[in-house]
């Protein structure tokens, strides 16, 4: 029982992190029609900027703020430099463009910093645990969960209550329709990329907390892939589906790691992705995906 509760917290915490990444992907997809393969590099960039600033002796809290800020700027620059020229082309074209951007950014980090793993000095308090009612909770898990939930709630509030949120949700429903209503889609896209950068940045901070500050040039890959699969599982074009998919993936990962025999733990990712493919066998449009009826 105690173990179940601990795993539950762990699952929620990892799931919330994936949800942040997946929501960022989904927001860009709904407003721009782009599946951003370079989304994971926003996580990597945040981590390396945080690392660079802490090496210079800047306090951790300031360093992560710098990391978040860089993530937002990087996302906007990505759109401006690489993605805007392929706007309106088939989704495959923009996907492959982001594929190339991802490769270039990883290579740049290898060239500028190092191909090897580095460690970010973090707030040491994060490494501890709290004992509540006989249960041991690693602090990073609790903090991750709290921060991720606050970020998700803030996003929900923004999407539901503000004008720009309304426009983004409208775009998710019907991008052409929103354009016809006179929404400046250019501004919408910039905001969407900025938000996706911020969400990826927050996820990066949480991932660093989880891994004890260990970072490498390819660290963005697995969270991004999981987020991709979360988006597909939740249903393309559905923002709620992305969040749901993220939580499901987090839970699956934590439970499989806990219950699989030691020799099979390495196969966790493979098993999760196989389960997702089976779900899609039953529901090809994803859990919350709608079948899009084309205008004939």
């Amino acid at each position: 029982m105690t173990e179940i509760i601990q795993q539950l917290v762990n699952g929620l915490s990892l799931g919330a992190t994936y949800s942040l990444v997946a929501l960022g992907l989904a927001i860009v997809f709904t407003t721009f029609g782009l599946i951003n393969f370079a989304h994971g590099e926003l996580i990597t960039i945040t981590s390396y900027v945080t690392y660079g600033l802490s090496v210079l002796g800047i306090p951790w809290a300031v360093a992560i703020t710098g990391g978040l800020f860089t993530a937002i700027i990087s996302a906007i620059l990505m759109e401006r430099i690489a993605f805007r020229p392929v706007r309106g082309k088939p989704p495959t074209t923009s996907l492959l463009t982001s594929f190339g951007v991802s490769l270039i950014l990883q290579a740049l980090i290898v060239i500028i910093v190092s191909p090897r793993t580095k460690t970010v000095q973090q707030w040491s308090w994060l490494g501890g645990s709290d004992i509540v009612g006989g249960l041991v909770f690693p602090r990073y898990q609790v903090i991750t969960l709290v921060v991720a939930l606050i970020a998700l709630l803030a996003m929900v509030f923004t999407l539901k209550k503000t004008n720009i949120g309304l426009e983004i949700r409208g775009a998710a429903e019907d991008l052409e329709g929103v354009r016809l209503l006179g929404v400046r889609s250019g501004r919408l896209v910039v905001v969407a990329f900025a938000v996706s950068g911020l969400l990826a940045g927050i996820a990066a901070v949480l991932i660093m907390a989880r891994t004890g500050g260990s970072i490498n040039p390819h660290m963005g890959l697995l969270p991004m892939l999981s987020a991709f699969v979360a988006v597909v599982l939740g249903g393309f074009g559905s923002l709620g589906g992305a969040v749901l998919g993220g939580f499901i993936l987090g839970f699956l990962e934590v439970s499989l790691r806990a219950w699989l025999p030691q020799s099979a733990v390495g196969l966790t990712t493979a098993i999760i992705f196989a389960i997702v493919i089976l779900v899609l066998r039953i529901k090809p449009s994803g859990i919350m995906g709608k079948v899009i009826e084309e205008k004939v």
Partner: protein, 606 residues
């Protein structure tokens, strides 16, 4: 009587294969002449070509980007390696392999064969999921496939030897053997692209809805393409194992994925020739950047060693290709397009085909009926209990203001959308609500917003439809003669070799009619056939529609806003307003009916 288009243009395939074999021949001669690292580089490049062609067969024809094929190459390599290696060698790496794999060896030839067979079966099973998804979601699933394979190879140590890889595979693949396989795969990819199954996949890529209306099943088409291409990729992987003698999971992960994507797209994903060009360009470029990344000195400037240089090169190639054209250097062209002049490949004999019925010798009399069809979207009732009837050999008109439900009714009649209630009947048999089913039952259609297979030739557009039902109708020869007659009537004879999206608007509309008629239907539904046409063109279309009904015995439903055109053409009119049928009768009665006049004048529409 010649066919509208040849089923397979052998000449094209032969010329292409010969031309593309030239650079491969030079490469293999250099490889066998030099040996050492150059030979190795060239042979690996030819193996990469096999894998890239495998991906091209799927991605080029269906338009779905796949990362999963690198996973199939990995599986092919590992299975070949494990099956081909001698038990005493395997004992060291994987003594506890499952299925007793460490106890026996099949040898390289049988090993490769069995490995490819296993991967093909696995790919087929996976394909049943992916082919139903389609589009960009399918791409994401293929990515999941790659990661699953990588994780299994990396972490199922008992089977694969784990991250350190598997070695001791008998090195049996020579450069010449790889060359032979590469040429063979080149021919397969070319034949597939030009054959009916390939054309069907391309039709689905161009317009899924129209493909279905032509009787093509998108999932089935994608599934075959996927399975064939997986088998090719697995062969490439198997050859790599037999050439290198050792493999690691990392050999088949993101680096190879990025490289093959760059090779495929820089040359042009829709082009087999493009794959060859892409492999050459990327291999050469990669070598140059690998050399540069070792550090060099120009005058006073010293550039230090940079391990990431080749990645930057690949990334830039991908981004620049996408931003500049998106379709690569070749687009959908092939090498032979620069050599052979396009000529009229088709001979159409009009005299012979006069007055031949599609259906059979005797006159078939059937009736297509909408039996109180209703459709609601959400809560909104778009069509309310409409009855409509057309007999073979008759032309009926369907008019009404914009938004009155005409297109929705047409969509239900042609199976594009299922009715909320009511049924579509031919005589007294219900027609299932799917486009493929409707087209098989003899209901063809055109679309209001033209939906051609834009990147395919006019002949291919027609051939796809002809082929999906052709042989099932009573007399295929006569039927094709009739189609030829329609083609010449519609002035499409001279443009058969042109791509559909290069035709002027009027001809595109005509091609849609010809394509629908190539299904040899009993009934054809024409959605605004003369929209945007001038009077001369309208008159031509009217002539053709009359011919369809009178000479070929087809029942025609015409939707249009051009009242003089439609009232002259039809023997009976149906008028809709706000989803309801408000009138039916002769054109004469229609002109005088108050309700009709009110509906048209009242709505402010013409």
């Amino acid at each position: 009587m010649k066919k509208v288009a040849k089923r397979l243009d052998i000449k094209r395939v032969v010329i292409r294969s010969v031309l593309l074999t030239i650079p491969l021949t030079i490469a293999v001669l250099v490889a066998t002449g030099t040996g050492g690292s150059i030979s190795r580089l060239i042979t690996v490049a030819m193996i990469n070509l096999i894998i890239v062609l495998g991906i091209q067969v799927f991605t080029g024809n269906t338009g779905i980007v796949s990362f999963g094929h690198i996973g199939f190459a990995a599986l092919g390599a590992y299975l070949t390696g494990i099956l081909a290696t001698e038990p005493d060698v395997k004992g060291f790496r994987i003594p506890d392999a499952p299925f007793g794999l460490s106890k026996f060896s099949l040898g390289p030839v049988l090993g490769l064969l069995v490995a490819v067979l296993i991967v093909t079966v696995l790919a087929f099973a996976l394909g049943t999921v992916i082919s139903r998804i389609g589009g960009i979601s399918a791409t994401m699933v293929t990515l999941a496939v790659l990661i699953i394979v990588y994780t299994v190879m990396n972490d199922w140590v008992a089977f694969s030897g784990g991250a350190e890889g598997f070695f001791g595979i008998p090195v049996t693949a020579s450069p010449v053997l790889v060359f032979i396989f590469a040429v063979f795969v080149l021919v397969i990819a070319s034949v597939y692209k030009e054959s009916i199954p390939g054309l069907r996949a391309q039709a689905v890529r161009e317009d899924e809805l129209a493909a279905r209306a032509m009787g093509v099943s998108p999932p089935r088409t994608r599934l075959w393409s996927w399975t064939l291409s997986a088998a090719i990729a697995a062969t490439g992987g198997g050859l790599l194992a037999l050439f290198l003698g050792s493999i690691t999971p990392r050999d088949f992960y993101l680096k190879l994925t990025f490289a093959t994507v760059a090779m495929l797209f820089v040359g042009g994903v829709q082009s087999v020739s493009g794959a060859v060009i892409g492999v050459i360009l990327i291999t050469v470029g990669n070598e140059i950047f690998r050399w540069l990344s070792n550090g060099f000195t120009i005058g006073a400037i010293t550039v230090p060693q940079n391990p990431g240089m080749t990645d930057i090169f690949l990334g830039l190639v991908i981004v620049v290709t996408m931003i500049s054209r998106g379709s690569g250097l070749m687009g959908s062209r092939e090498v032979e397009d620069f050599v052979i002049k396009t000529k009229k490949s088709t001979h159409v004999d009009i005299a012979e085909s006069r007055k031949t019925s599609f259906i059979s010798e005797e006159i078939v009399s059937k009736t297509l009926r909408a039996d109180s069809l209703s459709k609601s979207f959400g809560g909104l009732l778009a069509v309310k209990s409409v009855n409509l009837e057309v007999e073979t050999g008759r032309v009926v008109g369907l008019i009404g203001p914009n938004g009155s439900g005409k297109s929705t009714l047409l969509n239900m009649l042609s199976g594009v959308i299922p009715p909320t209630s009511g049924a579509v009947l031919i005589d007294s048999n219900e027609v299932a609500a799917s486009s493929e089913e409707a087209s098989r039952e003899g209901i063809a259609r055109t679309f209001q917003n033209i939906r051609l297979f834009g990147d395919l030739t006019v002949a291919a557009n027609i051939q796809i439809a002809l082929d999906s039902v052709g042989t099932k109708r009573a007399n295929p020869v006569k039927a094709e003669a009739a189609v030829s007659s329609i083609i010449s009537k519609l002035n499409l004879t001279d443009v058969l070799d042109r791509k559909a999206n290069t035709l002027p608007y009027g001809l595109q509309r005509k091609l849609e009619i010809a394509r629908a008629m190539a299904l040899m239907p009993n009934f054809v539904l024409l959605d605004e056939p003369v929209a945007g046409m001038n009077e001369v063109e309208s008159a031509e279309i009217a002539d053709v529609i009359k011919m369809l009904a009178e000479d070929l015995g087809v029942g025609v439903v015409v939707v249009d806003h051009d009242l003089p055109f439609i009232l002259n053409l039809c023997s009976k009119m149906f008028v809709m307003e706000s989803g309801k049928l408000i009138f039916s009768g002769t054109p004469q009665e229609t002109r005088q009916n108050e309700a009709v006049i009110a509906a048209y004048l009242g709505s402010g529409s013409n």
